[in-house]
Amino acid sequence: MARVETCGSRLLRRLRFPIDQSIMIKAILIFNNHGKPRLSKFYEHYNEDTEQQIIRETFHLVSKRDENVCNFLEGGMLIGGSENRLIYRHYATLYFVFCVDSSESELGILDLIQVFVETLDKCFENVCELDLIFHVDKVHNILAEMVMGGMVLETNMNEIIIQVDAQNKMEKSETFIFQSPRQDR
């Protein structure tokens, strides 16, 4: 029996997806109440199909929870199972889900989600789902100022906005240059 069990657990280990233990935030997902992805940022590599499955699984896990229960739950099987936790917030039509490993503080991440949403709100002026739908690149750029390679980079909203604005300004000035007869490359 014991031997049989050993074989089983070995097989299980082999079946499991490789988990990169070095990353603290494994993935950041935003999807709406119907599970449509609005942003997905994976800090460890999965192929596209698995990513979609993870989004679906996460949506399934998160959406069946009551509004008044706590914002933490164990990660789905595809993304590391109980070694990881999902920390999420539900704003109007959108779920913001961070999948993190055990070294991150839940409250800290919850706070980070809040900062993220507030920053989006500032950058888009009353952010709504449509902003995220049409400007997912901008959302990525904002996120890049907060989380880098799965590690928390910056949590001060003002600082984030300063950097995002500065980069947008640069982009605008470049657009201007582009229209003047100068070559791009």
């Binding site: 029996m1 014991a2 031997r3 049989v4 050993t6 074989c7 089983g8 070995r10 097989l11 490789p18 233990q21 070095s22 603290m24 992805p37 942003l39 997905s40 940022k41 590599h45 192929n47 596209e48 199909d49 990513e51 979609q52 055990s102 070294s103 503080s105 409250l107 800290g108 706070d111 900062v115 739908i133 049409f134 400007h135 997912v136 690149d137 990525h140 750029n141 890049a144 880098m148 390679g149 799965g150 590690m151 928390v152 980079l153 910056e154 949590t155 001060n156 909203m157 600082e159 950097q163 980069q167 640069m170 982009e171 470049e174 657009t175 582009f178 007869p181 070559q183 791009d184 490359r185």
Partner: protein, 1162 residues
């Protein structure tokens, strides 16, 4: 050309952009896939165009489609193209796409190395930032190796924005390329003291993450951590500390206790008690002794109204027990069990009691009778889920402590007799597991039974049929064993053969009930035994002596098997463990509860006695089958939980075995014996006994422990029981668990071989060897550096220097929280280190205050740091105001900072501090070195830093701040230095010695910026001065004038020293080696405290303290060319004597002169 561009723009106007794509997809809900595939075709066309704008737009759309689950890896090369656009807009799109879809096996990644390197050194901080962000997502070992140097350079970038990202990405680099850790670590450590809190928290983040995996390598950071820790007062800090501390587990109790005390004193938040206890409880397991003084405090917490706090306090008690106080603590816990409300807490109490008692192989139990009574008392618990736990303890103790068997058997017999009390209540389903143990013990050790017949009768009561199947099975099997015992007892007196026959008859009468059992196991056993007994009865009627043969059925001793035994059996050759032997059992998670619960010995079940090889797979499989059957049975059996009104308390036999009631007790009779519970009597007995034989008790215990540990007498002990004198204080033989004979001695099989952090288990304190000073890089790399050193090093931003924020002055709320979260991480690691250090040091009295913790740190520096810090801040603040007055200051002795060790003074990369001599001691600041005393209209030149290049023994990096003090615009600055034989400014290729280097920025009025220049130095043993000029154009509204400034650069010997930590043993080896030549120095009239003095030497001269004893300290530093410099500093009555040794006497002499100068100036 222009036409093409215009065409491109027009094309672009007609292209779909991302928004159009999204809109299109939304408008084609019904045929989305088809629409997207046409879009992808369009994108493919767009990617074929030359216009980068069109390509970027296409890539942007691809990024979106990737999110929807479309594979876009085919466009990887186009993504690289967009990444290498010179425009930030497109570059950003490219890097975003790359970060979304590149991974280690993307082959085009190799093409990106040079592009990324170019972007990293871009004058535009956002180009660099975007490259770092992208790289963080797809860094490969190759990229990490090739770019480690560039990223390391960026860690000292002038922009905190870049520093922050560079520091963070270093973690990824370390993981992919562990060789970079040691060379990069000093700089990473510096960043812990970065003036920018964002950078600081990034550094903390990285170091903590590293330390979390390999804590012992970060011991030397303890003082620095301490400093950071004291500077944080945020609640969040404390949460995180505690959380991380609790994860760590290797932290000393006393330290932790002190920390929690500190926490409590800082924030009087009640809920922190919870976190504090939580943290301590996890940690204390490793250091049980030193927390015992806190016993009362923690016992108080047991009375707290908050259940969570009580649970935590329980955890703590675990670490506090000793032989002395075990009984007392358990007694208190038993009281709590009695009055506890809520099953969770009670179950927790129960588990804890068992944990406490059984820890370290029953190390703290001096009296096993007492323990058995405790276990029996615990069976009174209502509704506990932990019956199996108690059961496994009973089994474990009875099997392994031979001396206790007789007592245990008597107690178990009582339990069996009163079984109806355990099973009576519906709530008590868990506790009936105890009967499993009771029945087994009574059967197995039936020779100790006073009245086996009575017990046999008790085991065959009809009510037993309501028990769970697996218990019934044990009952039936053990009834047979008892039967054998009874027979053997009777045959001595053949005259009275009626008793034996009665026993047979009893079995024959009662067993049919079990034969009808729906549980296969029970049925099978019962019918076997029934047939056996019938046969025996026949023989008995013929007056044949059968006792011996029946007893032979159950002959042999059972040995406990270690939990890991199975795992340790070496795999026989040719056996494939990964092949299925059987299809996996569907309910394989149904571990045998008794085994799972404690991780204690796995007992061979009594069934296995029939087969000779006891621990074979057959048995295991059988067990599994039974388990499943039992599960199913438990689920289906309506009688499994049977309600019946019964009294709440189990009968406590306080008197002894003689009074086991044979007849069923009337339920109306209160069963509890008035007075003390049994275990209390033992407590009392124990106290008396201890009074009596204090002297020889110790001996006994030692002996006992020895035996327990070595298990020498494991089997030799089965001799006559009279040898085992069952006195209140047992001499107990704890049988060691059995291991297979050729067990593999591998204890660390829990570790995951795939953990990437294994590679990072690198000793960081060992001084860098010559070969390590440089990161291994590809061969073309050095040439590149030479080709354009300025581009690499210089900073072109004209933006004003960020205002320095000290942690205390200006903190944003959000940032604060996060920074503090990371302080907490630091703190936790600090704790680890301190405790390790404390463990090495001779045992000191347990400190309980923050200062006590400082005393425990490896050296005295934290105290200094603490003292120093406020001064430092104030001086820097004031210095800013006074800067202008200082313009006239002539060239003064240069100070440098570099890689300062954990002495932790100051913010090294803030260049604009000036020292204020009137400030209170000790002011650890660099007096700036003004190069140009030019009147009013000139850039003020200020050397903020001269430091040896860590990676190149012949390079010195000079950072110069240019500040425009006049009202006009300054441009076209050229910096040139007259090369000496020894030192040369590194210029572009092909530039002659008289060509200056263009300073890569212009200075609007009032703006300052920093540029770095690299000098190659041949000989570092002598200080030297270099003359230089700066030419520039001052542009006013109407005119512009050419100006020139002369200055001198002073390279002191100190600037060639690099703070290198050194262990004391390595240090003494160094001194013993005899390669070093000595020199000494006396300073008179130094009236500053010794630790200030040391801090000053550390700070100004890049030394680190190796060891400090009273007023004597050894210090160490190392030059960029690898010379060791050792100092022995002693102080007495305002006189400081420094004995120094170095393998290069000239260098040493100069360093000493500089030290002398430093002290003459203060």
């Amino acid at each position: 050309m222009a036409l093409k561009i215009v065409k491109g723009s027009i094309d672009r106007m007609f292209d779909k952009n991302l928004q159009d794509l999204v809109r299109g997809i939304r408008n084609h809900k019904e045929d989305e896939a088809k629409y997207i595939s046409t879009c992808i075709d369009e994108i493919k066309q767009e990617l074929k165009q030359d216009n980068i704008a069109v390509k970027a737009n296409a890539v942007c759309k691809l990024t979106y489609l990737q999110m929807l689950g479309y594979d876009v890896s085919w466009a990887a090369f186009n993504i690289v193209e967009v990444m290498s656009s010179s425009k930030f807009t497109y570059k950003r799109i490219g890097y975003l796409a790359a970060s979304q879809c590149f991974h280690e096996s993307t082959d085009v990644i190799m093409l990106t190395t040079n592009q990324i390197r170019k972007d990293l050194s871009s004058p535009n901080q956002y180009d660099t930032g975007v490259a770092l962000t992208g790289l963080s997502c797809f860094v490969t070992p190759d990229l990490a190796r090739d770019l480690a140097n560039d990223i390391m350079t960026l860690m000292s970038h002038t922009k905190p924005y870049i520093r922050k990202k560079a520091v963070l990405i270093m973690y990824k680099v370390f993981l992919k390329y562990p060789e970079s850790l040691r060379p990069a670590f000093p700089r990473l450590k510096e960043k812990l003291e970065d003036p920018d809190p964002g950078v600081q928290s990034a550094a903390v983040n990285v170091i903590c993450e590293l330390a979390r995996r390999n804590p012992k390598n970060y011991l030397s950071l303890a003082p620095l951590f301490f400093k950071l820790m004291t500077s944080s007062t945020n609640n969040w800090v404390l949460i995180k500390i505690i959380k991380l501390v609790s994860e760590h587990g290797a932290v000393g109790i006393s330290v932790c206790v002190s920390c929690v005390c500190v926490c409590f004193s800082l924030v009087h938040a009640v809920w922190l008690v919870y976190l504090g206890l939580l943290a301590m409880s996890k940690i204390l397991k490793t250091h049980p002794k030193s927390v015992q003084s806190h016993k009362d405090l923690i016992l108080q917490c047991l009375d707290d109204k908050d259940e969570s706090i009580r649970l935590r306090a329980l955890d703590l008690l675990y670490g506090m027990v000793s032989k002395k106080n075990l009984m007392e603590i358990v007694k208190k816990l038993m009281l709590h069990v009695d009055k506890a409300e809520g099953t969770t807490y009670r179950d927790e109490l129960l588990t804890k009691i068992i944990d406490i008692c059984s820890q370290s192989n029953y190390q703290y139990i001096t009296n096993f009778e007492w323990y058995i009574s405790i276990l029996v008392e615990l069976t009174r618990l209502e509704g506990t889920r932990h019956g199996h736990l108690i059961a496994s303890q009973m089994l474990d103790v009875a099997i392994r402590v031979k001396a206790i068997r007789a007592f245990a058997v008597s107690q178990m017999a009582t339990l069996l007799d009163n079984a109806h009390l355990l099973t009576g209540n519906t709530q008590r389903n868990g506790i009936c597991e105890v009967l499993y143990a009771a029945a087994w013990i009574c059967g197995e050790f039936s020779e100790h039974l006073e009245d086996p017949m009575a017990t046999l009768e008790a085991m065959l009561r009809p009510k037993v049929a309501t028990l769970p199947g697996h218990i019934q099975a044990v009952y039936v099997q053990n009834a047979a064993k008892l039967f054998a015992t009874v027979l053997r007892g009777q045959e001595g007196a053949p005259a009275d053969s009626t008793v034996a026959q009665e026993t047979s008859q009893l079995l024959i009468d009662r067993l049919p009930l079990f034969v009808q059992s729906s549980n296969l196991e029970v049925q099978e056993r019962a019918s076997c035994i029934l047939q056996l007994v019938k046969y025996i009865q026949k023989l008995q009627q013929k007056d044949v002596e059968v006792a011996e043969e029946v007893t032979a059925l159950f002959a042999g001793e059972l040995n406990p098997v270690a939990p890991k035994a199975q795992k340790k059996v070496p795999v026989p050759e040719g056996l494939d463990l990964d092949a299925w032997i059987n299809e996996p059992p569907s309910g394989s998670e149904s571990e045998d509860e008794g085994r799972k619960s404690k991780g204690k010995a796995v007992f061979a079940k009594e069934e296995s006695r029939h087969t000779k090889p006891r621990y074979t797979e057959v048995d295991e499989k059988e067990l599994a089958k039974r388990r499943e059957v039992r599960k199913a049975e438990q689920a289906n059996n309506p009688f499994y939980i049977k309600a019946s009104p019964s009294s709440q308390k189990v009968y406590q036999d306080g008197v002894g075995v003689e009074h086991i009631p044979v007849v069923q007790i009337d339920l109306s009779v209160p069963l509890k014996v008035p007075g003390m519970p049994m275990s209390d009597q033992y407590v009392k007995l124990e106290e008396e006994r201890r009074e009596k034989n204090k002297a020889d008790k110790k001996k006994k215990k030692d002996k006992k422990r020895e035996k327990g540990e070595k298990g020498r007498r494991r089997r030799a002990d089965s001799g006559p029981e009279s040898e085992e004198d069952i006195t209140p204080a047992h001499m107990v033989d704890i049988v060691t668990e059995e291991m297979p004979e050729n067990a593999l001695p591998s204890d660390d099989d829990d570790k995951d071989p795939n953990d990437p952090h294994k590679a990072l288990n690198i000793d960081l304190d060992k001084p860098l060897a010559d070969s390590e000073k440089k990161l291994p890089v590809r061969s073309h790399r050095p040439n590149e550096v030479l080709k354009s050193p300025m581009e690499d090093r210089q900073v072109v931003e004209v933006a004003p220097e960020p205002k320095k924020k000290t942690g205390k002055e200006k903190k944003d709320k959000d940032r604060k929280v996060w920074l503090h979260l990371y302080f907490l991480r630091i703190f936790s690691i600090f704790l680890t280190h301190v405790s390790l250090a404390a463990a090495e040091a001779p045992p000191a009295s347990t400190p309980r205050t923050a200062s006590g913790m400082a005393a425990m740190a490896p050296d005295s520096e934290p105290e200094e740091a603490k003292d120093t810090e406020p001064d430092l801040f104030s001086s820097q603040k004031s210095s800013k105001h006074k800067k202008k007055k200082k313009q006239k200051k002539e060239e003064k002795k240069k100070k440098h900072h570099h890689h300062h060790h954990s002495d932790g003074a100051g913010d090294e990369s803030v260049p604009n501090g000036t020292v204020e001599e009137e400030e209170p001691l000790p002011v650890m600041d660099r007096p700036p070195h003004y190069l140009s005393p030019h009147p009013s209209l000139a850039p003020l030149l200020q050397v903020c830093d001269i430091q040896g290049n860590l990676q190149d023994g012949s390079q010195v990096v000079v950072s110069v701040i240019f500040e425009n003090k006049c009202d006009s615009f300054i441009k076209s600055m050229e910096f040139n230095v007259l090369d000496s034989l020894n030192s040369k400014l590194q210029r572009h290729d092909g530039a002659g010695p008289h060509d200056g280097l263009t300073v890569p920025f212009q200075l609007p009025p009032g703006i300052s910026n920093e540029a770095r220049f690299i000098f190659s130095v041949q000989n570092i043993v002598m200080p030297q001065k270099l003359k230089g000029t700066l030419t520039f154009i001052v542009k006013t509204d109407d005119s512009s004038t050419h100006e020139k400034l002369d200055f001198k650069l002073h390279f002191t010997c100190t600037s060639y020293l690099i703070t290198t930590p050194c262990y004391s043993d390595a240090y003494s080896k160094l001194l013993e080696s005899g390669d070093l030549k000595g020199c000494s120095l006396k300073l008179e009239g130094v009236n500053q405290p010794f630790h200030h003095l040391l801090a000053r030497i550390c700070f100004h001269h890049h030394f680190s303290v190796v060891e400090r004893i009273d007023s004597c300290a050894s210090m160490y530093s190392r030059s960029i060319q690898g010379h060791h410099v050792c100092l022995l500093v002693k102080t007495a009555d305002q006189t400081v004597s420094i004995d120094a040794k170095c393998d290069e006497p000239a260098l040493l002499g100069n360093v000493l002169d500089e030290i002398k100068l430093t002290f003459s100036q203060c």
